[in-house]
Amino acid sequence: MSDTRDGSEKDVPETLESPYGFGYSNTFKPRKQGFKIGDLFKASFYRNKKGSNSRYNFRLISLIVVVVTLISVISVIPSFFRLKQSKVVIILAANEGGGVQRWKTPQEWSVERSSIANKREYAERHGYILTIKDVSLKRRYSHEWREGWEKADILKQTMRQFPDAEWFWWLDLYTFIMEPEVDLEQYLLNHVENKTYRTIEHFNPLGIDAQIPYTDTMNSPVDLVLAQDCGGFNLGSFFLRRSEWSELLLDLWWDPALYDQKHMEWEHKEQDCLEMMYSQMPWVRNRVGFVPLRAINSFPPGACSDQRDDPRYFYNEKERDFLVNMAGCNYGDRSCWDEYEYYRKLQKKHREKKWFWW
C-alpha cells in the first residue's frame, strides 16, 4: 500500500490542477483545513452568542496581535539601517605558519577557532564583511626572504575582491575584540583626520625625524591608520583606505633593490620597510595617521615586557580598551592559549555584568 502511494506521489503533483479535483490529495483524503485569521474572530463571535465576555476576548486577541507585530517589526528595524553595502572589511590573517615547520597543537587550533568566532560575531553585529586569509608559509614568498610582503599582496587581492568597500582592517590572528559594541565608523573612521596624530612627535620610540622636507599634511587625507608600540610601528592591527595612494603604497612597499640591502637588518620585514618609507618619503608621511596603541591594539603584560610600567601599551580593564593583541605570545615562556582564554573569559565577564544593569 505504502509503495504504491510513494510511487503515485512522484507522478501526480499536489497542485490545484490535480486530476482528483480541488481539495483532494493523491491519498484520497480531504486536505486538512489550514489556519485562517478569520477563525479567531469567528471564535469570539460564537462566544458573543453565548453572551459571555466577548469584548474582553476580542481585546485580548488584538492586544496580543499588536504586541507580536510590534516585536517582530521592531526587531527587524535595525537591519534596515544596514541595507547599504558595508564600507568596512575585516581581514583576519589565519593559519600563521600553517603547520609547515612543526605540528599545529590542539591549543593552536582552539585559539584560531576562538579568534575567528570573535571576529565573526563582531562583523555580524555591525554588518561588516569578514574575510579570512591564509598566511601559511608559501614557497613564492620564502624565495626572496619576503614572507612579510604577503600582507601587501593580500591587501591588494582583498581590495579587488570587495570593490565597494572603503576601509580595510588588517588583524593578526592573536587579536581579540574586547568590546564588540564599538562601532568602527563612530569610533574611528568618521572624521578620521580629527582623531589621528599627523606627526610623529606624540610618541617616537624610533627617533624618526619629526620634520622632513616637502611634507604637506595640510591638504592630505588620512589613508593609513596605525599605532606604535615600544618598538615602533605595529602592523598587527591597522586600517587602510582604498585610494590611489594606498594602491601605490602597496605597489612600492616591496622592492628588490631595497630589500637586497636591508634584509639582514629588517627583522620585521614589511614593518621596517614601512618605517623606512615613513621616515624618508614625504608622500608616504602625508597620509599616515597615528592613534594611541591602546585605541586599536592593546598589549597583554607579556609584550613590551621591558617597559611593563608604561600604561600606554597595556590593556586597561577599567577603561575597557577595544582590542587586545597578544603579539609574540609564541615566544619565551608565554602561552597563547592561556592568554587567549584569559581575555576571552574577561570579555564574557564584562558582557554578563551588563545584564544586571536593569
Binding site: I64, I74, V182, P213, T217, M218, R320
Partner: protein
C-alpha cells in the same frame, strides 16, 4: 497577561484610567528592552556602557592633535618669496663661483682615506636662514655672490598667477664655459616668457653635500633632487619639464602644452607596448593607457632610457615617483650609485603602478641628438632641421660646446 493576579485583573476590569496607563507602561518597557537593552533606564541606560566604546578620546593627547605640517624644500622654512615666474641664478657669477671653489662655498671636513684625503662638504647654517652681517660692515661683491649662491634654494614662487608649466634646468659652472651658460639660460628664458611658463634654474654644485653623503658625487643624481625642489618652489604648477643644460630649444613657435601635454596629442605620440630597456626587454609600456593618467613622460636614446629630458606632473604619482627614485637607499645602492638611469629602469620594471603612469615618447619630439657630421645618423634619434630640441651630448666639454651652440642658435625659429 494571564499571569497577572486575579485581584489585579478585576481591578483593571473596573478602572479604565489605570488600565491604559499600565498598557502604555508595558509598551514603553518592552520598547526600552528591545532598543536599548535596559528595561528601566531606557535611553539613559546607554550611559552605563563604558565611554571607550564610543571614542578613544581619553587616550589622545590634544597637544599633538591637529598638528599639521607644511615643511618647505630642503633648505627649510625661511623661504624667500619671488613674484616673477623665473627663479634663476645670475649666470655671470659662474666665473667667480668657479674661482671660489666648493671649499669656500660649503663647510668642509677633510677625511683621510686610503686613497688620499677626501673632502666632505656640508651645508652651513646660512644655507637655511639669512645671517645678518655685523653692522658697519659693507658686503662686498664676493660676499654678495656667495650669499646669492646659498639663498637660491630658499626661493619660492609667490606670485598670484602660477604658471602651468615650469622649465627646470641645472647649471654646472665647473663643467661648461661661461659663454655657453650665458647662452643656455637666455634660451630657456625666451621660450618660457613667450608662453608664460615658469623657469627654475639652480647651480648643480648646490647639491654637492647631498650627493656626497650617498656616494653620488660626480653622477647625474642631482637631476632627481632638482626636479623635486622645483615642485616645492612652484607648488601650483602642473607640469615640470626638466631639460638638461646641454639641450637647446630651437623652435620658439612650438607650445609644449599643445605639442605634447594635451591628452589627445600625448595619446597619439606615446609609444605603446614599447620595451623599457633597449634593445629588448620583457617589461614593456602598457598597450592601453589613458593619456589622462600619464604623470611621467620620458624618452630613450640608443642605450635605453634617458634622463636628459623628463616631464613630470605635479600630482601624487609624480611626487611619489621622484621621492622614491631619489631615496637614499636607491642612491646609496652600489648598483645605482653612479647612474640614476639604472635605478629608473629598475623602478619601471618592478612597479607596475608607476609604469602605468609613464609614457615613452619618440626621442625626436623633445630630445633630438646632435650627431657629428662624420658619424652615422639615426633617423629616429638624430637631430634634423625643424626639430624642437637639440641635445648637444657629444660636444667637447669646456671648449667645444659654445661654438656648437652658436651654430644651432643662429637657426632658432622665433
Amino acid at each position: 497577561m494571564l499571569s497577572v493576579p486575579v485581584s489585579l485583573r478585576r481591578y483593571l476590569k473596573v478602572a479604565k484610567g489605570p488600565k491604559l496607563f499600565f498598557i502604555i507602561l508595558a509598551l514603553i518597557l518592552v520598547f526600552n528592552w528591545l532598543f536599548f537593552g535596559s528595561v528601566i533606564l531606557g535611553p539613559f541606560g546607554l550611559g552605563s556602557t563604558p565611554a571607550s566604546v564610543k571614542s578613544f578620546r581619553h587616550l589622545l593627547n590634544p597637544a599633538y592633535l591637529n598638528v599639521l605640517q607644511n615643511t618647505a624644500g630642503f633648505q627649510g622654512r625661511a623661504t624667500i618669496p619671488v613674484k616673477g615666474r623665473e627663479i634663476i641664478p645670475n649666470v655671470n657669477d659662474a666665473g667667480t663661483l668657479k674661482q671660489l671653489t666648493l671649499d669656500i662655498l660649503f663647510g668642509m671636513q677633510v677625511q683621510g682615506t686610503e686613497s688620499g684625503d677626501d673632502k666632505r662638504y656640508f651645508y652651513t647654517p646660512d644655507f637655511f636662514e639669512d645671517i645678518e652681517t655685523p653692522e658697519g660692515e659693507k658686503t662686498n661683491d664676493i660676499q654678495k655672490i656667495v650669499s646669492d649662491f646659498k639663498s637660491l634654494g630658499r626661493k619660492v614662487f609667490a606670485g598670484s598667477n602660477s604658471p602651468k608649466v615650469v622649465l627646470v634646468v641645472g647649471l654646472d659652472f665647473e663643467k661648461y664655459e661661461i659663454d655657453y651658460l650665458q647662452k643656455v639660460l637666455p634660451n630657456r628664458q625666451e621660450y618660457a616668457a613667450k608662453y608664460g611658463y615658469g623657469l627654475y634654474a639652480r647651480w648643480v654644485q648646490e647639491f654637492t653635500p647631498r650627493l656626497q653623503s650617498y656616494g653620488n658625487f660626480g653622477s647625474n643624481w642631482w637631476r632627481v633632487i632638482l626636479l623635486r625642489e622645483a615642485m616645492s618652489a612652484f607648488p601650483d604648477a602642473e607640469f615640470f619639464w626638466y631639460l638638461d643644460e646641454k639641450c637647446l630649444i630651437l623652435r620658439d613657435d612650438i607650445n609644449l602644452q599643445r605639442y605634447l601635454l594635451e591628452p589627445g596629442v600625448l595619446g597619439q605620440a606615446m609609444l605603446r607596448d614599447h620595451p623599457i630597456v633597449l634593445p629588448e626587454s620583457a617589461v614593456r609600456t602598457y598597450r592601453s593607457v589613458d593619456p589622462q593618467d600619464i604623470s611621467i613622460i620620458l624618452t630613450q636614446d640608443s642605450y635605453g632610457l634617458s634622463t636628459d629630458t623628463m616631464i613630470v606632473k605635479n600630482d601624487l604619482y609624480g611626487k611619489a615617483f621622484l621621492e622614491y627614485w631619489g631615496d637614499r637607499l636607491y642612491r646609496g645602492y652600489e648598483n645605482f650609485a653612479d647612474n640614476e638611469i639604472k635605478a629608473l629602469a629598475h623602478i619601471l620594471q618592478w612597479h607596475p603602478y608607476l609604469l602605468g603612469r609613464t609614457a615613452i615618447v619618440p626621442s625626436r619630439m623633445i630630445n633630438s641628438l646632435h650627431t657629428d657630421e662624420k658619424a652615422k645618423k639615426d633617423a629616429s634619434r638624430s637631430y634634423q632641421k625643424g626639430d624642437f630640441v637639440v641635445n648637444l651630448r657629444s660636444c667637447r666639454l669646456r671648449t667645444g660646446c659654445d661654438a656648437l651652440a652658436v651654430s644651432y642658435l643662429n637657426d632658432v625659429v622665433k
